[in-house]
Amino acid sequence: MIEAINALLRSEFPDERITAQIDERNIVTLSGECSTWAVLIQIGHAVAKIPGVRNVVSDMTAKGVEIPKKDYTPVVEEGRRIGEVDSADVVIVGAGVSGCGIARELARYNLKIVVVEKGDDVASGASKANNGDIHPGHAVKPGTLKAKLNVRGNRMYTQWAKDLGFELQRCGSLKVVTSEKLVPEIEKMYAVAVINGVDGARLVRGDEIAQIEPRLGEEMEKAGVKPVLGLWLPSFGLVEPYDVVVALAENAAENGVHFRLNCTVGDVLTENGQVTGVVTNQGIIRAKYVINCAGVYADEISEMAGDRCYTIHPRKGTIAILDKSAPPLYNALAGFATGNEVVLKKNVESKGGGMCRTPEFNILLGPSATEVPDKEDVETTAEDLRYAMSRNSNPYVGTGDIIKIFAGSRPADFKEDFVIEMSDKTHGFINVGAIQSPGLASAPAVAEMACGILLGDLQEHDAFPSVNMNFNPIRKRRVEFRHMTNEQRDELIRRDPRYGRIICRCEQITEGEILDAIHSPIVPGSIDAIKRRTRAGMGRCQGGFCQPRVLEILARELGKDPTEITLKGEGSNVLLCESRSKVNEGGADK
């Protein structure tokens, strides 16, 4: 196989000096300096596509490009200084949708589970910065793990939403073409949907299109085009992604899972090929199993466990969110293509997202798909925004309607598939890596699969855990004032007057709702954590009015000084010190 790799490197990349090594597991390690970052990515992808290559580890660099490397020394030193603080059956690294999903699934058994998360809140990485699409599974390569888990995960969301009390809208997806030359594209998508087993996928024409989404017919007429063929995918759904993660985490916590936030893993401990724990900045936690759900850092955690078997190359996506006063045209994720659209940018592996909406009916544009060397790089750029805005197919809205631009990073590997397996180097270490899109849609199936691996291993060692008879799968949905009728609101305020005080005007979020969020199983300690749980600050003024009030409530409820309250975790304090006037008053409260 090494010959095939070298032949490819010679023929496709003659000017690049890259050397390849392959181990007994068919994992290829590439090293050398590439001319650009884009070429480095191309080489990684090209090698990963060679039949038989299990995955690609990159030691490559790119000319003039600094690849930031995280220094874990201070974390390890701090952890070793503190010493052993906890002991668990399972330590899960990362509290995104994968980590929290797995934690909640494992909570069905009598296992001691600890989730460690380096952020100040759950869902602080890719799980919070995506467009919340529960993809049907028609856009993933057949035969991949992604394809299998996407279709299954999509199906499982109905139960998740029901049990966990988050909003899931199965609005469906309807893609229509108005030109004969585009028909093959629709047919191709349909074929993939059929092969992958997507529920309810159907080709539709004329009247049926209008029945599914009447407004689409009107808009096509306005544009002077007629529908030729459409692909209807009724299983497409929408969620607020952080809602899902918060719900999973809260339910897991209620069922005994212990969460450690602001907890960074600096090393994975092993003995004789067996995982024994993790060293974190909060001390050493002993564990029989470690499940790696560390997102863009998953490759580094795996390396700590002595198993370098893939490299994450972050792929940044920028999303623009529009004001609710610029509403989407359709209920479904619908649109028509005439063949004359200009696509600004094409990433071979992911062209990025298009136009969709949130369950609260904000339009989302993007995400873009930009390969970046830095895992922490979630900067928005003019170029990425141009891409996002180029996906706008709603003639009634535009740049003037943007209320927020944000970016997240997809944890992609070179195989562009999920890596979910027990390490064959370190027993007890389970990788749940490279969970990029459709990772959110696949999450229930990812959790099921990862648990299956762990339980299977326990079974093999005659240690299958007893079932947690107290497990309660239900997490009650919190009060949402904005969605109530006036009569319900009236009754609610009578029960607790704090629901009668609106803190966030734009989204109509009450003090009662903010208090509910603060006094919940995973205590949100920052303003953004409150925002994700309640929507306070998510509207058109972006916290201009409510941020000072949310800050005040947080300080009051958590018994902290206002200067201690952060926007999004350590170091992001909103207020630095008291004003001169306040100091002169002797620091008296106003």
């Binding site: 623009a320 750029t381 009668g500 201009g544 941020q547």
Partner: protein, 415 residues
């Protein structure tokens, strides 16, 4: 749910709402209800501890709080019912208001007339397309003002201000007095966005540089702002490559414009004006829905609070006429037209039969020196007022007598 009726409901207890409610009572309206979402009256004036308010109206230099207090004091014994901590959630074109507060719960209020006085909000970083990271230390000038003046805390030590609107200028001075180093005020337009007196008193007097045709293009810093990039822009506001400069700071204050808060207006399907981003108004400051009026910054963003109060009174007098049945049921209008040198005029239209003194507010599109504001009603010159300088940030006000039926036209003439 509580249900009751009032003659006039005023939404918002800032300067416009206070003036409107008081004037409504003076006009003899029986049941006037003032709804305020905050726990105290005065609106944004409460956090304006600087002076300069009330020069026109009271011929005095008052702080925001003092200005508001002059109105609040008149509420005692006025018979106006005030509901604080009360937010209006919905408004219909049948003049029904749904509001709530912690003590009354939900309320359904059938109103004879409604005066909208919700004020405005500030534009944000994403709305002006600043790229980069999203750390703590980026906030609107109003939020910074609230933190510093009302809560008594400082949100940074080294500040950059984007936008030379009045709040930005006021905050430049305020922060300097609090010991925050203000590194500069950057304005994307070639002319300042705020009043000349504020440029002089808030920047020049403190040696704070104002950089025109310059904007912030990028924010850096993971947890807190560490630095921003500023760059010059051309006439089309496109960044001129090579002019970028990096400035170390831990606070970026945005004073990049105000947007009238018209969510309720949209709920009631009021006809909107794209220029003012506010309801289309007639000479009584009545919206397209008979009986619903608008005043203050929700009707058009004003520069001086004196005008805000004045507009509240105009709207209240309109509401009184409406309740007395003195306004035509299906009003016929003439549009107030203007030359290119005028950006907009409020009110935008005048009832055909109107034959009285009317007040118009307008802004020019560009600065003009030694020019005259000329108003005509038909062939009659109704206004010919010389101004030493006219600049876009300064609202021009003129009260003129109009004749019925005839076209009303304003222009800016040189000489």
């Amino acid at each position: 749910m509580k249900e009751f009726q009032v003659d006039v409901a005023v939404i918002g207890g800032g300067p416009a709402g206070l003036a409107a409610a008081l004037e409504a009572r003076k006009q003899g309206i029986e049941k006037v209800l003032l709804l305020e979402r905050d726990t105290s009256l005065g609106g944004i004036l409460q956090q304006c501890i600087h002076d300069g308010f009330g020069l026109h109206r009271f011929n005095a230099r008052l702080s925001g709080g003092q200005y508001a207090q002059r109105f609040i004091d008149q509420l005692d014994g006025s018979g106006i019912e005030v509901k604080l901590d009360t937010i209006v959630i919905d408004m219909t074109d049948e003049k029904v208001i749904y509001a709530c507060n912690p003590t009354d719960g939900m309320m359904r209020i059938q109103c004879g007339a409604i005066i909208l006085a919700m004020g405005c909000r500030e534009r944000t970083a994403s709305q002006v397309l600043i790229y980069g990271t999203r750390p703590a230390g980026v906030m609107t000038a109003g939020a910074a003002q609230r933190y510093i003046n009302m809560e008594g805390y400082l949100p940074g030590k080294n500040a950059v201000i984007l936008g030379s609107g009045d709040i930005g200028l006021i905050m430049a001075r305020r922060m300097t007095l609090e010991g925050i180093k203000v590194k500069g005020v950057y304005e994307v337009m070639p002319n300042p966005g705020g009043l000349t007196r504020n440029i002089v008193q808030c920047l020049d007097d403190y040696g704070i540089p104002l950089h025109l045709s310059t904007t912030v293009t990028r924010i850096e810093g993971k947890e807190r702002v560490e630095r921003v990039t500023v760059a010059k822009v051309d006439e089309k506001r496109n960044v001129i490559p090579g002019t970028e400069e990096v400035i170390d700071c831990d606070l970026l204050v945005l004073a990049v414009g105000l947007i009238p808060e018209n969510e309720l207006s949209r709920q009631a399907h009021l006809e909107m004006d794209r220029k003012t981003r506010a309801p289309l108004l007639d000479n009584n400051f009545m919206t397209s829905c008979p009986g619903i009026f608008a005043a203050g910054n929700v009707s058009v963003v004003f520069d001086l609070v004196d005008y805000v109060s004045l507009s509240g009174e105009i709207a209240a007098r309109g509401a009184a006429k409406y309740l007395a049945g003195k306004l035509p049921e299906h009003p016929q209008y003439r549009t107030v037209t203007h030359s290119d040198r005028i950006n907009f005029i409020v009110p935008q239209r005048v009832e055909l039969s109107a034959d009285e003194d009317l007040t118009f507010f307008m802004r020019v599109t560009a600065p003009y020196k030694n020019a005259r504001l000329v108003g005509k009603c038909g062939e009659t010159v109704i206004c010919n007022k010389r101004h030493q300088a006219m600049v876009p940030p300064e609202m021009l006000e003129c009260t003129v007598k109009v004749a019925p039926q005839q076209e009303i036209y304003f222009s800016v003439e040189e000489g």
